[in-house]
């Protein structure tokens, strides 16, 4: 309309005079039909019509947006309007797109706007890819060309908002970038093996699975694994033997595995190394943790993926775990080796001085100690402002309240460290004499020196973290420390960079190994929306480890702490004097020759509890003359019992979704000789594993294990602790032995050991026919190829291992004769 306004009074154009119809007056709530008022004649479309092509989302189909709990709490405190933080809560009245909850077909679907992988069995050439991932052994799975292709695809993806690798902050609505998501493992009818972990990790570094008790520690374990000295100490400890198997350990101390946190961490680190870019789960390690009395008493067991924890709870949990873990490892070292190597690597010596302010009180104590973690403390604002320019002059009275607006932006962790290593506190004296003369005790705790490996717990409050968000670069990749032993008042001084150093030689440079970072997907007080990831520098590059997602990430993103959803909670620095040591990993060619290696367990019996020589032995121990050699063949079969059943969600249509896979536990391991010779096919390991906890299902039809077989008191079998058997297997693995067996993926996953594919010969893989989509059973293959009937009764692992060995030989024969393809297709 091009009408313009004119000044009053009106021009010649006159409004129409209409006689008001006699309807009404009606008040608005009066119960008359609205159609009482007529319509004028019309010959055009009515204005009230909505275009039919305009479609809307049904409001009630949407998932309700929850009001942030922090705002709710705030609004309950204050009546009326309260301040709104647009950066934190996003713009007003933002339109939320429809999200479908229909994740029946989780494969390839999008969740929360993220593209997720299909199940392997649903991917293109599904049979092939299923086979590839299921078998850790197939040789072509490490095909470098395919890996490169994946990488190219991946590079395209990272900029895409829906890519899981998307890391750029400042998403609309302050959304946390996808790469920090709380990841979920999806289970198809094939179970966990069908989940495409490789989608999440294109690097050569292993990721850790969640969906397992205590998986919150994954981020911290990754951090320590990438610190060479620590890794070396823990892994090197495995060369020695420590296999307690007495009743006291098994029954009284409730440690049926006969293991220690230290040993299991060693095995875990070894697995992670061998896994390269594949995923590993911490099942054996977490089992030991869950039985540890101290871990339990400190409340460090978490079985529900932190769903009931808020941000603060999770920080408490991980920092406390960090402290307890190192202490426990230190103790384990002492028990197993009578030495305390961690004390010298990580120990932080401190002095504690308690003095009275009153002369009447005689308290004046000085003591010292060693701790493993430095708890970072926010300096009071007056301390912060020693470094800062006071912007607001009116600010003077509330000296202990931190105000980001009045604090200078360029404060770093060094300020915090300087304050944290030297603390004073005044507390009222509690002695009886203080009734007469009330007075204070002055407590001073000061760090004497910093260790080579410095672990810092940053367990601050949300408000304190907000302050950190406001600093330009709080976290430093490196800093310098001068150890001024003489000055008892201020033994340590810190500098941010070289230019600040008066005398560079006196200073020790500390570099950031990496840090565990808490990611808050909702406000701090919300429960279940926080997870832990770690940023770790290795090979000169920064990587993000978010459980099984591993990806390189630019340094600027690592050090960008400007978002309030990102909170560094455990920092690990090492000093330059040790970081130059390059850690040498075990090589299977030379492993057996390591002087300190104790492999004697391979040649002797080591029964749990009491002497069980009298029980029937179906095996013959290896002799020193038969010592395994690199590349020699053995056949293996393992039997499991079920500790907890599969948990399904089932629809009336028969659709079935695995929510939690069953928990299997190794019950029997048999290994037989596979090299030609008089003892070919003769077992040399046949261990039954001690179980003292309740077993849900013995799976007798499959395992041959019967109730009582694994009970350390009732059993008639040759029982050993899990660690005894595990160590045997681990030794063989590291010596470069090649394992023959049928369907070994499940066996090794169940045992929780990582065997490189070149040490596996899996008959289920060799005789796999893609048209069947399922692996052929051992029984079937034996009947067809060997004309032998096996598994007529319950399974017997020695017999099964032997059959697999024969099948392997048959395979080699057929291959040599060029008849393999023919046979397979028949």
């Amino acid at each position: 309309s091009s009408k313009t306004f004119v000044s009053y009074p009106p021009p010649l154009d006159q409004p129409d005079t209409t006689i008001s119809p006699m309807y009404g007056p009606y008040s608005i709530d009066e119960n008359i039909p609205l159609s009482t008022v007529g319509m004028p004649f019309y010959k055009d479309q009515l204005l009230s019509g909505f275009p039919y092509e305009l479609s809307f989302t049904k409001e009630l189909a949407r998932i309700q947006t929850q009001i942030d709990p922090e705002l709710l709490i705030e609004s309950e405190k204050t009546k009326g309007f309260i301040p709104y933080d647009k950066v934190k809560y996003g713009p007003r009245n933002i339109y939320k797109r429809y999200q479908s909850l229909n994740d029946n077909k989780s494969g390839g679907s999008t969740y929360d706007g993220k593209i997720l992988p299909k199940f392997i069995s649903e991917q293109k050439n599904s049979s092939k890819s299923l086979r590839k991932t299921i078998s850790n052994s197939s040789i072509d799975s490490d095909n470098p060309i395919e890996k490169d292709k994946d990488k190219d695809k991946d590079n395209e993806d990272t900029n895409n908002n829906s890519s899981i690798f998307q890391y750029k902050p400042n998403q609309p609505g302050n959304k946390v970038p996808n790469c920090y998501s709380i990841l979920q493992i999806q289970y198809s009818k094939f179970g966990v093996r069908d989940f495409d972990f490789s989608f999440y990790n294109k690097t050569e570094y292993c990721g850790l699975e969640n969906h397992i008790d205590n998986s919150y520690i994954n981020a911290l374990l990754q951090l320590y694994r990438f610190q060479p000295e620590f890794h070396y100490l823990v892994l090197g400890n495995l060369l020695k033997e420590w296999l307690p198997n007495d009743y006291n350990t098994i029954i009284n101390n409730k440690n049926p595995q006969g293991s220690s946190i230290l040993n299991e961490l060693g095995y875990l680190f070894d697995m992670m190394e061998k896994a390269k870019g594949k995923n590993v789960n911490i099942s054996n390690f977490t089992q030991i943790l869950s039985m540890n009395e101290i871990i339990k008493s400190k409340g460090l067991i978490n079985v529900n993926e932190c769903q009931t924890l808020n941000s603060k709870d999770l920080r408490n949990l991980i920092t406390m775990f960090n402290e307890v873990l190192i202490n426990q490892l230190n103790q384990d070292f002492f028990i197993q080796t009578q030495s305390k190597p961690l004390s010298s690597l990580m120990g932080i010596p401190y002095e504690l001085e308690i003095k009275s302010s009153s002369k009447a009180c005689l308290i004046n104590e000085k003591s010292g100690g060693l701790m493993f973690n430095l708890d970072l403390i926010t300096p009071p604002s007056n301390a912060l402002n020693q470094y800062a320019v006071v912007i607001n002059n009116k600010w003077n009275n509330q000296s202990n309240i931190i105000n980001p607006n009045t604090t200078k932006k360029n404060i770093t962790i060094v300020t915090y460290l300087e304050y944290s290593v030297n603390q004073f506190r005044s507390v009222p004296c509690q002695q009886s004499h203080s009734h007469q003369f009330p007075h204070n005790l002055e407590i001073r705790k000061s760090i004497v020196s910093l260790p080579s490996l410095l672990s810092i717990n940053v367990n601050l409050s949300s408000t304190e973290f907000k302050l950190i968000n406001s600093f330009e670069q709080w976290l430093l990749p490196e800093f310098y420390v001068f150890n001024n032993n003489n000055s008892s008042n201020n033994p340590l001084s810190f500098r941010q960079n070289v230019s600040q150093l008066e005398n560079p030689k006196n200073y020790l440079k500390y570099e950031l190994v990496g840090f565990v970072c808490e990611i808050s997907h909702q406000s701090d007080s919300a429960t279940g929306f926080h997870n832990l990831v770690s940023f770790i520098k290795t090979g000169g590059e920064w990587y993000l480890f978010n459980n099984f997602l591993v990806m390189p990430i630019p340094q600027e993103e690592v050090f960008n702490l400007s978002s309030n959803w990102k909170k560094p909670v455990v920092l690990l620095y090492n000093s330059s004097d040790i970081s130059s040591n390059k850690f040498e990993y075990f090589h299977s060619e030379t492993f057996a020759k390591i002087p300190s290696l104790n492999s004697s367990i391979l040649y002797r019996d080591h029964f749990a509890g009491t002497i069980r020589e009298s029980y029937k032995k179906e095996y013959e121990l290896l002799t020193e003359q038969e010592a395994p050699e690199f590349g020699s063949i053995v056949a293996i079969d393992a039997e499991f019992v079920n500790l907890a059943p599969d948990e399904f969600e089932i629809r009336y249509t028969g659709d079935k979704k695995l929510i939690k896979p069953k928990v299997l536990s190794l019950a029997r391991l048999s290994i037989i000789r596979g090299e030609d010779g008089p003892k070919f096919g003769k077992a040399f390991i046949d261990d039954y594993i001690v179980h003292t906890n309740e077993i849900h299902d013995y799976l007798t039809n499959f395992s041959g294990i019967e109730p009582g077989d694994l009970d350390p008191i009732k059993s008639q079998k040759n029982l050993t602790t899990l660690q005894t058997t595990y160590r045997k297997l681990w030794l063989l693995l590291n010596m470069g032995i090649v394992f023959v067996g049928h369907g070994l993926y499940n066996d090794f996953r169940g045992i929780n050991i990582q065997v490189p594919s070149n040490q596996i010969r899996d008959t289920a893989e060799f005789f796999y026919k893609s048209s069947y989509k399922r692996q052929l059973s051992l029984k079937f293959l034996a009947y067809i190829l060997l004309k032998e009937k096996v598994q007529t009764g319950n399974h017997d692992s020695i017999e099964d291992a032997y059959t697999a060995l024969l099948l392997y030989r048959k395979y080699l024969d057929l291959l040599a004769q060029g008849q393999f393809e023919d046979t397979l297709s028949n």
């Binding site: 008040s27 608005i28 709530d29 039909p33 609205l34 159609s35 007529g38 004649f41 019309y42 010959k43 055009d44 479309q45 009515l46 009230s48 019509g49 909505f50 275009p51 039919y52 092509e53 305009l54 479609s55 809307f56 989302t57 049904k58 409001e59 009630l60 189909a61 009001i67 942030d68 705002l71 709710l72 609004s75 009326g80 309007f81 309260i82 301040p83 709104y84 647009k86 713009p91 007003r92 009245n93 933002i94 339109y95 797109r97 429809y98 479908s100 609309p172 609505g173």
Partner: protein, 471 residues
């Protein structure tokens, strides 16, 4: 209700302009969680047919030569669609008008019959009281009957309930026209049961449907709902003849045959006729399931061609066969309606349709409430400034209005979501406890309020406004 102003429509209503539906074959491809304006509100066809009925009810005749009023009935409009002055059924002049009652404001259908015999007392109307007492959803209720001189000569006037836009079965299914409705077996069963339902009541009261059981006199008032119309007319017109017959009978027969008995006998005969007429009506309708050229031939050969179920053919055979005095409607119902569950399936269909209508009606009632609610909001939202508390409250309402109407996507584009408006206003109307976050336009402050609180604010602001008004 009171008498409404009679409408004066000079122009036809343009239903298609009202809320246009999509063109034919337009496929919106809506997903289950999506909706559009036409789905949110009353379905087009239901609205249109109801609107047409309203229009038909209100139609007036601007330059009428008809009497101003007949008795209490005024504003006559002829509604006969046949335009034949002489009824084919009664063979005397007859016509029908719509008129409003001056007594209750409701529209009625007036049947005018230019009777050919003198009416000197109320005896020809003797059955009308019985007819009036029948309340049956498959019978057009008769309200009144009288003779009138309004047309210049004595005419019989019968007053019935008016069903706007109703149609005879003949027009509905048979008479040539593009809008003929297809006859299906399901419809036939439904008609059968509806007619029997009417006959049950009629016969029970010692009456017979007579000329009403005819494709020309059964009307379709709603979707597949039929009603016997023009009831009682045969009784009036036949009075003279009956009288004569009875006289004859009485003369012929011995004294033991009482008057009463003979009437009963007579009625029974007429009721048997009704059953035969029912058979005829059903047969005529069944024929419509066949193509034109196959409709000729004798009953038995045609019945074989009908693609109807054995159950229904059996009904046709029974009703078109030898219907004797022994015929019992009750037995018939048992055998042919109950045992094959037809009665229960009618009950199901009726429950479904009443559920459907109730849900439509509640949607419309809801719309009325929502309109009033949004009107209130509009009344208060921009009134000039007042005291601080009122201003503050009004500010909250403004933010709430923004919350409902002004949503933006992440690129700042406004979003139109009608469903959001409807649901939010509904929640407000219900005053539920759910809390919402309202952020100020400058995004510096916010408030958390429940729908209930907002409703209370609106109530108080509105009361404030109207109290000023009524002061």
């Amino acid at each position: 209700g009171q008498a409404p102003p009679p409408g004066q429509s000079m122009f036809p209503l343009n239903y298609h302009l009202y809320a246009p539906g999509p063109p034919p074959r337009f496929n919106n491809n809506l997903l289950p969680y999506e909706t559009n304006a036409s789905l949110l509100f009353i379905p087009e066809d239901l609205r249109e047919s109801t609107q047409q009925k309203n229009e038909a009810t209100l139609q007036t005749l601007p330059h009428s030569t008809l009497p101003d009023h007949i008795g209490v009935y005024h504003s006559l409009v002829p509604i006969d669609k046949t335009y034949e002055p002489t009824s084919k059924i009664w063979h005397i002049p007859s016509s029908i008008y719509k008129a409003f009652s001056n007594a209750d404001g409701n529209p009625y259908a007036l049947r005018r019959i230019d009777h050919q015999f003198p009416i000197i007392n109320e005896l020809p109307f003797k059955n009308i009281k019985k007819w009036r007492s029948i309340k049956n959803p498959n019978i057009v209720q008769i309200r009144d009957a009288f003779t009138s001189m309004a047309f210049g000569r004595s005419t019989i006037i019968l007053v019935y309930d008016f069903y706007p836009n109703s149609n005879t079965l003949l027009d509905h299914h048979k008479r040539n026209g593009t809008r003929n409705k297809v006859v299906t077996e399901e419809i036939l069963w439904s008609y059968l049961i509806q007619i029997i339902n009417a006959l049950n009541d009629i016969h029970e009261r010692g009456l017979a449907a007579r000329s009403s059981l005819n494709l020309n006199k059964i009307i379709v008032t709603n979707k597949n709902r039929i009603r016997l119309s023009s009831c009682g007319i045969s009784d009036i017109l036949g009075y003279e003849e009956e009288e004569k017959q009875q006289q004859q009978q009485q003369n012929q027969e011995d004294e033991t045959m009482t008057d009463e008995n003979s009437t009963i006998n007579n009625i029974r005969q007429l009721q048997i006729e009704d059953i035969k007429n029912l058979g005829k009506v059903l047969y005529e309708l069944s024929l419509l399931t066949l193509p034109m050229n196959l409709r000729y031939g004798d009953f038995n050969s045609i019945i074989k061609k009908l693609g109807l179920s054995e159950d229904f053919l059996a009904v046709l055979r029974i009703l078109n066969g030898e219907v004797t005095e022994e015929f019992s409607l009750g037995k018939f119902n048992e055998r042919y309606l109950l045992q094959n569950n037809k009665l229960f399936s009618i009950i199901n269909g009726l429950q479904d349709s009443s559920d459907y209508l109730e849900s439509q009606l509640s949607t419309e009632l809801e719309n009325s409430r929502l309109f009033r609610l949004i009107t209130k909001i509009n009344y208060i939202i921009d009134q000039p400034d007042s005291n601080p508390e009122v201003n503050n409250n009004r500010y909250i309402i403004k933010l709430f209005r923004d919350f409902i109407f002004y949503q933006y996507d992440e690129f700042g584009k406004p979003i139109v979501e009608l469903s959001r408006v409807v649901i939010n206003l509904n929640k407000l109307d219900a005053g539920i406890d759910e809390k919402i976050l309202l952020v100020s336009r400058d995004e510096q402050s916010c408030i958390i309020v429940s729908y209930k609180e907002i409703r209370d604010i609106i109530d108080s602001l509105f009361r404030n406004l109207t109290s000023q008004y009524y002061k």
